[in-house]
Symmetry: C2
Subunit: 464 residues, 2 copies
C-alpha cells in the first residue's frame, strides 16, 4: 500500500486529505478486514493523495511536477510489489500492451450501440465488433443473430442480462442461487424485481431440487434465471442442462429467460473437455464474461452477448447520438476493445486452450500440496479456484490478497500463477501455519466441513 | 474512419467480419445519419477488424505481429485525423498523460466503495479519494459529510443519483425536463419509476410554470428532480433556485430529492461569475459530472458526489470484497482517478477558471462570426455550446463531428478549440454554404426559430 511507504515528500502531498494519518499512523487499510466491522454510512478517509492548488510560480520552479513524479514513482513501485503477491482475485496480471501505449493520447469513446455509427469519430467500434464476433462464435450464435457490447465489468454484464430478461418477461421472477455474485441481487433491487434465492449444494452449484420447489410455488409467473458459470467464491459451475430440464419439467417451457454469468469461466469452460457446454444452441438468453479476468486487461471490462431478437425490448431511439442505445452506459471506454482484440489475436482459441489446461493443472497441484500439508482444501472439477482453510493471520491474507468468506479463503489459479509462485506461497503458508497452530493442540485449525464438505476438511474431527 | 482507409493489408484482417464490405463498398458509417433510418433489431456489421486464429508458425514468422502493427498504425493515423476535426462533442481532447503511460502495465481496479479498502491491493483509492475531496470542496460539502466515487461516465452518475433519490423516496415521481439527457429517462425505465416530462423554455431550460402544474397534479407523492447543469443539446442551465422555490411553494418542503446532472457544466459553472451556484448548501442530494469532458481523459469517466446520509439507503454488506457496495458497478477502472488527479493537480482551480473564461470567450466569438455570416445561431449566457442551423451536407457534419438534432447542430467550445480552429471551421462552412444555397433563392436555409427563437433565426422570414 502506498500509504504506508512513509515517504515525506509523498505524505506532504497527501497530508491535506489524510485526516491526521501521518507517517507513524496505522492507515485503515492495514487493519485486519476480518475483525474490521464494515460500518455503513461512514466516509473513512485513509491516506490519500490530496489535490493541492498549484503555486503561482509552479510553472517556473517545476516543483509541482517533481512532487507529482515522486508520488507516481512510489506508487508504481507499490503496484509492482502488489502485483507480485497476488493470488486471490481472478485477474490475469500477465499482459504486455506496450504496442498500444501510444493510444493513450486519444479520447476513445464508443458511444451507444457498437453496430451503429455515431457522429463522434474517435471510437474503436471496428475492434469492438471484431471481438464480439469472436465471442459469439465461441458461444455458437450466428453473426446476424447476436447483439452485444463491451461492458465496463462483469457487473454491467449481469445488470444488462437481467434487464433484458425483465423486459422480455416484465412480471418474471428472478431466481439465483445463494452463491451468485452480489451484483445479481443488486440488479433485483435496482429493477424492482421479485427475487427468489435458491439453495446450493456443498460444491457451490445451484440445488435443482430446491429450484424446482420454488418454481412450483410460483407457477403463474415466468422465470428469469441467473446461471453461474463459475461462482465467485468456489468456482462452482451450475449445471445448465439440469436447470433447463428443471424448468421444462416444472411447466415453464417458453416462459423462461436464462442469463449465464460467466464472469471468469465463461471464457475457460469452452476449453474444458468434460464441461457442460455454454452455447446459444441451448435456450439461453445471454452470456456475460469479464475481460480483465482470464484475458487480462489494465482496466475492468467485460463482454455481453445476447440474442438480437431480445434487444428491441430494451432499445430506444436517441437522435442526439444518431444511435439507438441498448447499452447500460452511454459513453463507453474505447480502449478496452483494443486491448481485448490485441490479446485474442495474439493467442487465438488455441492459445486460450493451452492456458486453461495449464491453469487447471496448476490448480490441482495447489490443492494436492495443500492436502498433503494437512490443510483442508476443495477444488471443483471444472474450476481453477482452490478453496481452503482461511489463514489465521490477516496480515498473511492481505499480503497474498486472498479473498475470504467466513472460514474459507481461495486462490484463483490464473495464467500468471506459476508453479514457482505457488511453491513460494505454499512454503510461506506452511511456515506461518506451524507458528499459528502449536503442537500441544491448544489452538486448532478451523473446521470447514460446512463450507467444503467433510471429505475436504482437515480439522481435528474430520481428518483421516 | 479507419474502415475507409482502404488499405489492403488492413482489409485482409478485417475481411472475415466485413459482411462483404470491401474496398469499394460504401460502409454504413459513410451514409448520411440524417437520412439513415435507425432500424431497431439489426446488427449491421460494417468494416471491422476480425480476430483471426493465429497460424501454428506465427511465432516464428512474425507475420501476425506485423499485420497487427500495421492495423494499429493506420488506426492511430485515423485517430489523429479524427481528433483534429472535432467540434461537436463536449470532450476536451487536449491532454498529455505521457507521465502515466507506464501505469498501463497494471490491472488497477478500485472494487466497491472508495472509502473501504478491499483485499485486492492493485488499486488507486488514494488518488480517487484525493479527487473526490477536490470536487466535494468545489461543490461545498464537508469532507465528513459526503460520499462519492469515480464512475465510468456521466450516465452512471445519473443512474446513481436517481437511484439514491428513489431509495430515499421509494414512491417518488421523477421529474425531468424534455431536454434532459436520455439516460435520465433510461433510469426511470430501469428503476420502474413514474416519470413526468416537463416542458422547456426556448433556451432549453426547464419551464418552472409547467413544473409547478405537474407538481400540483401529484401532491401526494414526493418529487425526485433531475436538474440540468447544461443540457446536452443547447447547454442550457436549469435555474436551480427557481426549481427549489417552485418545490417549496407547491408544498413539497422536505419531500423532494434533487439530482444535478452536471455532465459538462458541473465543472465549468463554479467558475462563471453570474451563474447560479451549484452547492450542497442548497437542498440538493447529488451532483454528477463527466471527467472526460472538461478535464479530458483517454476514456470516459465521471465523478459522483452525494450526501453521506443518503448512502445507507443504497448499500449492502458484501463480505467477499470486505467492502460494502453502494456503487452501480463493482469493479471500477483504477486508471481514470489517476488521470483526473494528474490534471487537477497540474491545473488547480485557477487553471480551470482560466480555461472556462477562454471557452466562453471563444464561444461568443463563434456565435458572433456565425451571425455576421448570416447564419442563425444561439448561445446561452452561461454556456459554451453554440447552437446553429444544421449544415445541409451530411459529409460536412461528419467531417466536423457535429452533434445534430432536427434542424440544429451544435459546436461545444472546449479548451482544445482555439480561435484558429474556429476560423478554419467558419471559413469552410461559409464556402460550402455558398454552394448549398444558391443566389436565385430557390434553395433557402432552414427556419430554426422553433428551436432557438425568432431573434436567433436567420431564415428568410426572420432575418432582419
Amino acid at each position: 500500500m502506498v500509504g504506508s511507504v512513509g515517504n515525506d515528500g509523498l505524505m506532504e502531498l497527501g497530508a491535506a486529505a489524510g485526516n491526521g494519518v501521518g507517517k507513524g499512523a496505522r492507515p485503515m487499510e492495514e487493519q485486519p478486514p476480518a475483525r474490521r466491522e464494515v460500518v455503513l454510512g461512514r466516509n473513512v478517509h485513509t491516506a490519500s493523495f490530496a489535490v493541492k492548488e498549484p503555486e503561482a510560480d509552479d510553472d517556473e520552479t517545476g516543483e509541482r511536477e517533481a512532487a507529482m513524479a515522486s508520488v507516481l514513482a512510489l506508487y508504481r513501485r507499490s503496484l509492482v510489489e502488489r502485483t507480485k503477491h497476488h493470488l486471490g482475485y481472478p485477474y490475469n496480471l500477465d499482459f504486455d500492451y506496450g504496442a498500444l501505449s501510444r493510444l493513450q493520447h486519444f479520447s476513445i469513446n464508443n458511444l451507444g450501440d457498437p453496430f451503429i455509427e455515431s457522429n463522434y469519430g474517435v471510437h474503436s467500434r471496428q475492434f469492438e465488433v471484431g471481438v464480439l464476433d469472436w465471442f459469439a462464435r465461441l458461444w455458437e450464435l450466428e453473426k446476424n443473430e447476436y447483439w452485444g457490447y463491451i461492458t465496463n465489468c462483469g457487473t454491467e454484464g449481469n445488470l444488462h442480462g437481467i434487464l433484458v430478461g425483465r423486459e422480455v418477461f416484465p412480471d418474471g421472477i428472478l431466481y439465483a442461487s445463494l452463491e451468485s455474485h452480489y451484483s445479481v441481487f443488486k440488479a433485483a433491487r435496482m429493477y424492482r424485481m421479485e427475487c427468489v434465492k435458491v439453495d446450493t449444494l456443498i460444491s457451490g452449484e445451484i440445488d435443482c431440487a430446491d429450484f424446482q420447489r420454488n418454481l412450483l410455488l410460483n407457477r403463474d409467473k415466468p422465470a428469469i434465471i441467473n446461471v453461474n458459470i463459475g461462482t465467485t467464491v468456489k468456482g462452482a459451475v451450475d449445471d445448465l442442462d439440469m436447470v433447463i430440464k428443471t424448468l421444462e419439467e416444472s411447466g415453464f417451457k417458453d416462459r423462461f429467460y436464462i442469463h449465464c454469468d460467466g464472469a471468469l469461466f465463461g471464457l475457460m469452460i469452452p476449453f474444458v473437455k468434460k464441461a457442460p457446454k455454454v452455447t446459444f444452441k441451448k435456450p439461453i438468453g445471454s452470456v456475460s464474461v469479464s475481460g480483465h479476468k482470464f484475458v487480462g486487461c489494465p482496466m475492468p471490462c467485460g463482454v455481453q452477448i445476447t440474442r438480437l431478437e431480445h434487444i428491441n425490448a430494451l432499445s430506444s431511439n436517441v437522435e442526439y447520438l444518431a444511435s439507438r442505445d441498448a447499452t447500460i452506459m452511454g459513453s463507453r471506454n474505447g480502449h478496452a476493445p483494443i486491448f481485448l482484440w490485441y490479446t485474442l489475436n495474439r493467442k487465438g482459441y488455441r492459445g486460450f486452450q493451452k492456458e486453461v489446461q495449464k491453469c487447471l493443472r496448476n490448480a490441482h497441484y495447489l490443492k494436492d500440496r495443500l492436502r498433503e500439508a494437512g490443510i483442508g482444501a476443495m477444488l471443483n472439477e471444472l474450476s481453477s479456484t482452490v478453496v481452503f482453510e482461511r489463514p489465521k493471520d490477516e496480515e498473511f491474507v492481505r499480503r497474498w490478497q486472498l479473498a475470504c468468506e467466513g472460514s474459507i479463503a481461495h486462490v484463483v489459479v490464473m495464467p500468471n500463477v506459476t508453479i514457482d509462485k505457488l511453491d513460494y506461497f505454499l512454503n510461506e503458508l506452511a511456515e506461518k501455519r506451524a507458528a499459528w497452530y502449536d503442537q500441544d493442540g491448544m489452538c486448532q485449525p478451523p473446521c470447514i466441513a460446512g463450507d467444503v464438505g467433510q471429505e475436504n476438511c482437515a480439522c481435528i474431527l474430520h481428518k483421516k
